[in-house]
């Protein structure tokens, strides 16, 4: 079985080595890049991210990774955002009001707080995932999977949520919409569970059916059966890569 080429989007912030090594362990052939052609040719794309939302968005725009990310999402290729790379996929963040996110997923990023519970921010710990619905990203996980979080902000609850954790309230831990997936936690730091999640992502990169337009175009993954966001449905159909 050949290793699928996975592009790890490099916009000059943070250490990408851990993500790269986890992808290798998961059977992928990762490349750190912001070359549009190299990304377009890849079977999967990872958008990592650490630090403040505003600084990450600034670096993403300065390096042209915003256009590259939009193109990759539109192509139907499996795409995953990790930590602040997840947050960047949304429209905005309370961390830096006025700074636009990529707007690939509807919603905003909110600070972790709770009226009832005094919680420590950032959440910097392992926490148990509550899975919502069936996502191929979370296949073959042990019962009650634990993953590692380091964050002060998280996406608000939307129809796209596929996993949450409890931290002074229910916190978005992962989301998916068509070919776009995202985790607020760090799979590359989540031991065996994390390696399995990345392995599942690499499996999707191998799967030609996953990237087909009818799969990727506006499919809602919401378990509660709510209607997809209208703005999303109006997006142009993405062409498959095959």
């Amino acid at each position: 079985m050949t290793a699928p080429r996975v592009a790890v989007l490099d916009y000059g912030i943070g250490n990408l080595r851990s993500a790269q090594k986890t992808l290798e362990r998961a059977g992928a052939d990762p490349v750190l890049t912001r070359d549009p052609e190299e990304v377009a040719a890849a079977s999967g794309v990872v958008l990592p991210g650490v630090g403040a939302f505003g600084r990450v968005m600034e670096a993403i725009r300065e390096t042209g990774v915003d256009e590259i990310a939009h193109a990759a999402v539109a192509s139907g290729t499996p795409f995953i955002g990790i930590c602040v790379g997840m947050q960047a996929l949304y429209e905005s963040s309370e961390e830096n009001p006025g700074v636009d996110g990529l707007g690939i997923l509807p919603g905003t990023i909110r600070r972790l707080t709770s009226a009832e519970t005094r919680i420590k921010v950032p959440q910097m710990q392992w926490n148990r995932l509550d899975l919502h619905g069936e996502s191929p990203l979370f296949s073959k996980l042990p019962e009650d999977p634990w993953v590692y979080f380091v964050h002060s902000y998280a996406p608000e609850a939307t129809d796209d949520v596929i996993a949450t954790c409890e931290y002074g309230g229910t916190v978005t831990a992962a989301a998916a919409r068509g070919n776009v997936m995202a985790t607020q936690f760090h799979p590359e730091k989540s031991g065996r569970v994390g390696v399995q999640i990345i392995t599942n992502f690499v499996e999707l990169c191998r799967d030609p059916a996953f990237s087909e337009p009818e799969r990727s175009a506006g499919e809602s993954v919401d378990a509660a059966g709510q209607t997809p966001d209208p703005a999303w449905s109006e997006r142009p159909e993405r062409s498959g890569k095959q």
């Binding site: 250490n15 090594k21 910097m124 392992w126 926490n127 999977p145 002074g168 590359e188 989540s190 031991g191």
Partner: protein, 260 residues
């Protein structure tokens, strides 16, 4: 809220090899750090801490290599402490894959370093390590716990509780609190010290120094109110696994991440 107490094996590293001092005198070699780290990952360790005690400056780069190799082979978070004096020192370690850096003496000497690291990389990357001793002489600080530096040899006159609050104000995201009275004794954590500091700040506290039994690990959380417990020798020589530690802690009512 699901808050799981973390179990953190600590590896003291000298020129790329793991050592653990008993009261910093009787140093024994416990093997290759990355090999041990991978073993702890498999056993269910939640994090790892490497403390670089390399004395000679020409071997300082060994810790950067170690951080790089660890990031490539271990899939849990790890912290590197020891010998970090500048933002650039921290940057070199974080860039190759360390998740956090711990500073100790350098922070006492120049507290702005805490702020600089926290501002540059975020508070989550900035651990301040505090070595404290009980003092009851005329010069002892109000809390009775005094900060020591240089591996516990140098008295500072600083109150450990006041210092903890100060570093949190400067941006520390976590405090690794070692009782120098207990370190290496295997008599258990100084839970009074741990609880006093834990109550005084709202960042996570890693209790350190003195673990000789698995019960001590549970006590660090139940009595010391620590968010994480750190131990070295009980794990290194195969006396106990991390999985055993978590089983015992769970039996004492402490929430832990089950080994998966």
């Amino acid at each position: 809220m699901t808050a799981a107490a973390r179990v953190i094996p600590c590896l003291d590293v000298d020129a790329g090899r793991v050592v653990k001092g008993v009261n910093f005198v009787d140093i024994r070699d416990a093997g290759d750090p990355v090999e041990l780290a991978a073993r702890y990952d498999e056993q269910g360790a939640d994090e790892l801490v490497f403390l670089d005690i390399t004395a000679s400056s020409d071997q300082r780069d060994t810790i950067v290599d170690l951080a790089r190799r660890t990031a490539e082979e271990v899939y849990i978070p790890f912290t590197i402490g020891g010998g970090i004096r500048t933002v650039e020192d921290a940057r070199r370690l974080l860039r190759v894959g360390a998740d956090k850096t711990a500073i100790n003496t350098a922070a006492v000497r120049r507290p702005e370093l805490v702020k600089e690291i926290a501002t540059e990389f975020g508070s989550q990357c900035c651990v301040v390590s505090i070595d404290a001793r009980r003092m009851d002489d005329a010069d002892a600080p109000a809390s009775g716990f005094e900060v020591f530096t240089h591996g516990g040899r140098t008295r500072t006159g600083i109150d450990a509780v006041v210092w903890a609050q100060e570093v949190v104000r400067l941006g520390a995201g976590e405090i690794m609190l070692t009782s120098m009275d207990r370190d290496g004794t295997r008599d258990g954590f100084d839970v009074e010290l741990t609880a006093t500091v834990s109550d005084a700040v709202d960042v996570p506290i890693i209790a350190s120094g003195g673990v000789g039994t698995l019960e001590h690990l549970a006590e660090g959380v139940t009595e010391g109110r620590a968010d994480a417990v750190l131990a070295a020798s009980i794990f290194h020589f195969g006396e106990h696994t991390v999985a055993e530690a978590k089983e015992l802690m769970a039996a004492r009512g402490v929430t832990v991440r089950p080994p998966q």
